[in-house]
Symmetry: C2
Subunit: 190 residues, 2 copies
């Protein structure tokens, strides 16, 4: 999506260790009018699909998911990150590895909010190694719900996550796919 690629080139900052910072419009400050344009693109991509719920993960996915959800006229459910492992039997839970923060954490969703009749579109800001997305897919499968697909804002296509998730048979639509960020120069797969 050219609008997004242009914005990443203008406002994205590449930090050492191949870290792309989009804090000024997605991750810390959120340009909601811009996100609305991305939401309309997700709506176009998943036009004709039956979707009953948007699933995302806290924290930075929530705002984007809410704006996307409004396009589809459905609620958002966000998986919560938790360190306190009080595995209640009223939640679905799995583990997610964070490569940014170098730890493993539990994510949970209350069983009340995911059920076998649900048709889920997953929304998240980044896809790199795919650990968070894989965790969300697991929660959906635990619930016996249907995965319609995933909508990702930025996919680091030089990392394995996208391939891994698509190989699981899950549709993944990424609005910007980064081919490389060598020497701070961002290149996209068009």
């Amino acid at each position: 999506m050219k609008l997004l690629e242009d914005r990443i080139l203008k406002d994205g900052i590449v930090r050492e260790g191949n870290i792309l910072k989009v804090d000024s419009f997605i991750n810390h400050q959120i340009d909601v009018l811009f996100i609305r344009q991305l939401a309309k693109e997700f709506k176009r991509l998943y036009e004709g699909e039956e979707i009953t719920k948007i699933l995302t993960i806290e924290a930075s996915g929530i705002g984007i998911a809410c704006i996307v959800a409004e396009e589809f006229g459905v609620p958002v459910v966000f998986a919560k990150k938790t360190k306190t492992v009080n595995i209640a039997n009223d939640v679905y839970t799995t583990k997610v590895e964070s490569f940014t923060h170098k730890n493993v954490y539990d994510i949970i969703v209350a069983k009340d909010f995911l059920n076998a009749e649900d048709k889920i579109l997953i929304i998240d800001d980044f896809l790199a190694k795919g650990s968070a997305l894989k965790g969300l897919i697991e929660l959906i499968r635990f619930a016996g719900a249907t995965i319609v697909g995933a909508g990702i804002i930025i996919e680091k296509a030089y990392q394995e996550g996208g391939g891994l998730i698509r190989d699981m048979g899950v549709r993944v639509e990424s609005l910007a796919r980064i081919k490389s960020m060598n020497e701070g120069k961002i290149e996209f797969i068009s």
Copy 2:
């Protein structure tokens, strides 16, 4: 706001220890079409005020803040609860006490996203003891920005936060003000 009070009475659950759970439409599952109605009410309440940014705190405030921000046509900035490796050192920070989780945590906002010219509307889901709101007000003051006011979905008016913040000279608009929740029966201040 009657629409909200009716929804709280219908879907809110009172748990032991005066905990009000609104997980099915605000805190875990988010009914975005309903939140849009609340956002329009905040827009009406703060009509005529100049607002350049919405400030909230992760995680459950983010979705609501994004929908409200769209009404005002301004970006959201959300305070983060822990310092992450993706955040530069150039941040405003303060401490917030959580009575629900019985701990104290740091919140941060990058200096890039709060400045002296900003006119800030704070949005959050709950106001009880006022610790989070007080923290956000501190961050705004550190930046030398102007506090236009706060928009709260549910105020537990039998706790001290609302009075404390209003006594600081900050305008607080709460869409539902709970007078009491004795024996699971929720009563509002009308």
